[in-house]
């Protein structure tokens, strides 16, 4: 891995484009942040772009122009309140996370920003116990189609989405009996946030009450999954919101918020985008620059993301590996790193495990989404600290270890031969150990904290990898230049296997395979790597 010495790194403040070398480190970083972990094919593709700008623009454009797959038959055949169909929506997310790229990243971002929990909808009798799976599917589709357009229009369309109308109880908000639930979250969670960048309040309690009146009248038709405006339930009187008075309705409120609080809204969403894509510790100056740019492009989210993902700031090495993986990132990135295509059994296993950890997709705990994705608490604690504690971390270890050893319904013990051939030379334990570690760890390997192995290499001491052979070269070329971590990693991989015995064989069909004990050594090596604290970082 090429890395610039610490002292030379410039602390970039603006969003000037990254124009230095477009190398593996940069491409990996972009893939990790825009996909779900490094998959070799994505890394190679992104690395082949000429520059950060070309890479970022291509990835974002592809997401904007993505053709969505056909709807599942359970969705086209009528409305569903079957929980298995809800699980199917989750499984589709997992498949897309595995196969796809940036679009599904954005779906995850928005499903946290505009949090909706399916649980809430099937729980309450007045809601949609017989159609919630379909409403949730439609909600996700909206995030897919509108998630990289105009942020203002996204806020508008999500506000009218049937799942949201149900979730925040706006279906039950009529003139004379305003329900403030949705109104409050529209201001606090979706469009503005309670405070601006300097800590001043963005709106008052009275504004909330008045917005609640303005957004009355919305209902949902479960038969066609459409929300609709019911004039009879609407409070058509005048409202005073953010200092302006008129007979606002929902559209009017959205327009008003973005016109009266344009700078605050831009800062709010850019801060959240920054935290999700760059660092859990937002850089106020850069976020301000993003917000100004956001306004200049009329809240075009695709442009904002292209700008950020191609910036010199984004590629600063201090951000590479600075984000703690969310649970879904942790599992899907493991699959992508090792090219384990999630089977139905595995997806169900992951779903159940995530449910057990209270982290199931599309089922956030609260209206705030998951704090792990969100900006720091009021006391400054980075949100992503919420992803790890002394229960959650061992749970990740054991779940991934179960996936390696087939201790789930799928039952397949992982065979590492294919990934060994893809990331490295499967016959060379030195490059193999280093390349696999580099493939799955976001940090420079000298920062990772590899276990120091005091014992020397196994086998004949005369054949020590650093000794000189008959041709006058080191047995293992370049050995004397190997960094400490590489030697330790190789020793951890090899254990009691002499380096010169490490090999793979070819079967009758010409495919490489490892003898069981080499495959097992690799599985144990991978188990070691995934338990490194650095493995939790992306």
């Amino acid at each position: 891995m090429t890395s610039t010495p610490l002292a030379k790194r410039k602390q970039s403040t603006g969003l000037t484009p990254y124009t230095d070398n477009w190398g593996k480190a940069q491409a990996s970083h972009l893939v990790r942040r825009t996909h779900f972990g490094n998959k070799i094919s994505d890394l190679n593709r992104v690395r082949a772009f000429a520059s950060a700008t070309e890479a970022a623009e291509t990835l974002v454009d592809e997401a904007v122009n993505a053709v969505l797959p056909d709807d599942p038959s359970w969705y086209t055949n009528g409305t569903s309140g079957n929980v298995l169909d809800m699980y199917d929506v989750q499984f589709q997310r997992m498949d897309n996370m595995y196969n796809g790229g940036f679009l599904e990243r954005m779906v995850l971002f928005w499903s946290n920003h505009f949090a909706v929990s399916y649980q809430n909808m099937n729980d309450l009798p007045g809601k949609a116990p017989n159609s919630y799976s379909s409403h949730m599917y439609k909600y996700v589709k909206l995030l897919q189609t509108d998630g990289l357009g105009d942020f203002r229009e996204l806020v508008r369309s999500v506000s009218k989405n049937s799942a949201m109308v149900y979730y925040l109880n706006n279906y039950n908000n009529e003139a004379g009996q305003p329900n403030e639930d949705f109104a409050r979250e529209l201001l606090e969670l979706f469009a503005l946030g309670p405070n601006d960048k300097d800590g001043n309040t963005n709106y008052t309690e009275n504004d909330v009450a008045e917005v609640a009146r303005a957004v009355t009248g919305w209902r949902v038709n479960d038969a066609n999954l459409a929300s609709f405006f019911d004039e009879d339930r609407f409070d058509s009187g005048e409202k005073t919101i953010l200092g302006q008075t008129a007979s606002y309705d929902l559209d009017g409120v959205v327009d008003l918020v973005f016109s009266q609080r344009e700078a605050e809204a831009a800062w709010f969403i850019c801060n959240k985008i920054y935290v999700f894509f760059v660092s859990a510790e937002p850089d106020a100056t850069v976020v301000q620059t993003m917000a100004e740019y956001c306004i200049s492009v009329n809240f075009d989210l695709a442009a904002v993301l292209k700008n950020l993902l191609s910036s010199a700031h984004f590629y600063d090495e201090r951000f590479m590996g600075c984000r703690i993986k969310s649970p879904i990132e942790s599992f899907i990135s493991f699959f992508r790193q090792f090219e384990i295509i999630p089977s139905d059994d595995i997806k169900e296993y992951i779903r159940v495990e995530m449910q057990g950890l209270n982290e199931e997709l599309l089922r956030p705990d609260t209206v705030f989404g998951w704090s792990g994705y969100n900006p720091p608490d009021s006391d400054g604690t980075p949100g992503h600290y919420a992803w790890l504690n002394t229960n959650l971390m061992p749970a990740r270890w054991s779940i991934i270890s179960d996936l390696i050893y087939g201790n789930n319904d799928d039952g397949d013990v992982y065979d590492p031969i294919r990934i060994a051939g893809k990331v490295s030379d499967p016959l060379n334990p030195f490059s193999l150990a280093e390349d696999i570690a580099e493939h799955i760890l976001a940090l420079p390997l000298n920062q990772v904290g590899i276990r120091e192995v005091e014992e020397d290499f196994a086998g004949n001491p005369d054949l020590h990898p650093g000794n000189i052979n008959n041709q006058g070269n080191e047995y293992v070329p370049g050995y004397s230049e190997f960094p400490e971590y590489k030697i330790n990693l190789t020793k951890i991989l090899l254990g009691e296997i002499p380096w010169y015995e490490w090999t793979a064989n070819t079967d009758n069909d010409g495919n490489l395979y490892y003898e069981d004990y080499f495959a097992e050594a690799l599985r144990q090596y991978i188990s070691y790597l995934i338990q490194l604290p650095a493995y939790q970082l992306i």
Binding site: R318, L388, N389, N407, A458, P461
Partner: protein, 543 residues
Amino acid sequence: MCNHHNHKPTKNRHGASLEHGEAHTQDHQSWTRRSFLSTLGIGALGSGLMLGGIPVNAMARTKFLNRLSAAENDRILILIQLSGGNDGLNTVIPFENDVYYQKRPTIAITKEQSIQLNDEIGIHPAMASLEPLWGNGNMAVFNNVGYEDPNRSHARATDIWTSGSSSNMNVGTGWAGRYLLEDNPDYIANPPEYPLGVRIGGSATLFQSEFGNLGVTFGGASQFAQFLEQGGFYSEEDVPANEFGRSLSFARKVANSSFRYLESIQNAADNSTNLSEYPDSGLARSLSVVARLVRGGLPTKVFLVSRGGFDTHNNQGGIEGGHANLLADIANSVQALYADLEADGLQDRVLTMTFSEFGRTLDENSSQGTDHGSSAPVMVFGPVNGGIYGEHANLIDLDNSGDPVYEMDYRSIYSSILTSWFGLEIDDTETVLQGEFEDLGFVNALATSNEPGSAPISFTLHQNYPNPFNPSTNISFVLPDAGAVKVSVYDIKGSLIEVLTDRTLRAGEHTIAFDARNLASGTYIYRLDTPFGSTSRKMTLLK
């Protein structure tokens, strides 16, 4: 509880210094006599497949019935892996065998140089420091240990020894891993607060189980010191002062405090020190860590340490040189370990066994070394019935490569350790080792009580039947007395699936049916809680 050392010869015998030479012939003879007694069993029965040592003590056998629970059994096994293939023929020397001297013109150890254990064999002079252990009957030598169709690849042969399998089998788990699960059937539902195995170097496979690796690994004694100093495996301070450094520090902090065994290891280390000096070698330092953990009360039963460099293809030397230095390191380190343990009477709790993936060729090669061979001796130290077990290879009946053919299956040593040292029931030992191997009688079985008939009648949980099953099976257990009983089923993650019964039952045998038609295929754990104790077993649902 280990009262089987009454037969030990008197310590501090005059002339017991184990230096080679004529001066000590008298003393050697006295060891020889006792050694002969020890090997009488095999001597009388001849060689071949009769591999047993002295007949198994009938009294000891009855004690198997009262196997102690894990908590009550404080016996410990240390495995020392001699990595690379130790030259057994220069470790235990057949000094009366001309073939040995013909085949090894420069590296052979003469009769006079060797430390004679009996009239025919002796050990390498570099191992002189083992004298007190040998002299006190705390050392057993097993001749010509191996297995059918030996493999000469380091990797595969190590895999065979650590997995405890035959050369035509591939077993993904280690024999110690399987034993520790057998010994801790509650492991998944109710994992202990201490590591079941501790590994300081050596093959990770040893502790591999179907539920992952049961061993905690330290890279060496200095990493152990670092572990204690920083309160875990990872430094929370040694990170760059930037965004990823802060996240890394946080993840390390969580990892350190998530490490389940942190406290038990820290406590054990805090509670104790080494009570004597150790030589300046990596192996000795590793053993000093083990001694400290044992003394500090860590309930871990199996430790693995290793010493590499035994792959002596070139210039291995004779009484001096590379191989001699390796043997001296083993001997001096083991001696130091037991000197330390003896300082406060811990030596009777600790059995230490050496093993290596293979021996080396009988023929010295053209580089004054030896190549990968076949069978080799194993040494066991501690509270053993000291002496020599099995006969040295005669060096006439050789395999196709011109090397000795094994006579003692290495798994019979494992089997003896599991059954007699750890008190595993014979059926369970056979399950662990996937076969039946003779008890060699070199360790005495666990004593539970000196008074016949006073052994407690314990409750028993039988293996479910049928197993594997689909969709229902029967779970039987025996209660010594009436009492409140709860039978529960868990999945392998430890989540409760169902409580099958929770009520007061009479004494005697009970059977409860378990219907799993709504469950997925897989391993489940059933647990019996009684006023007399709790225990669990595994069962497999196959749909």
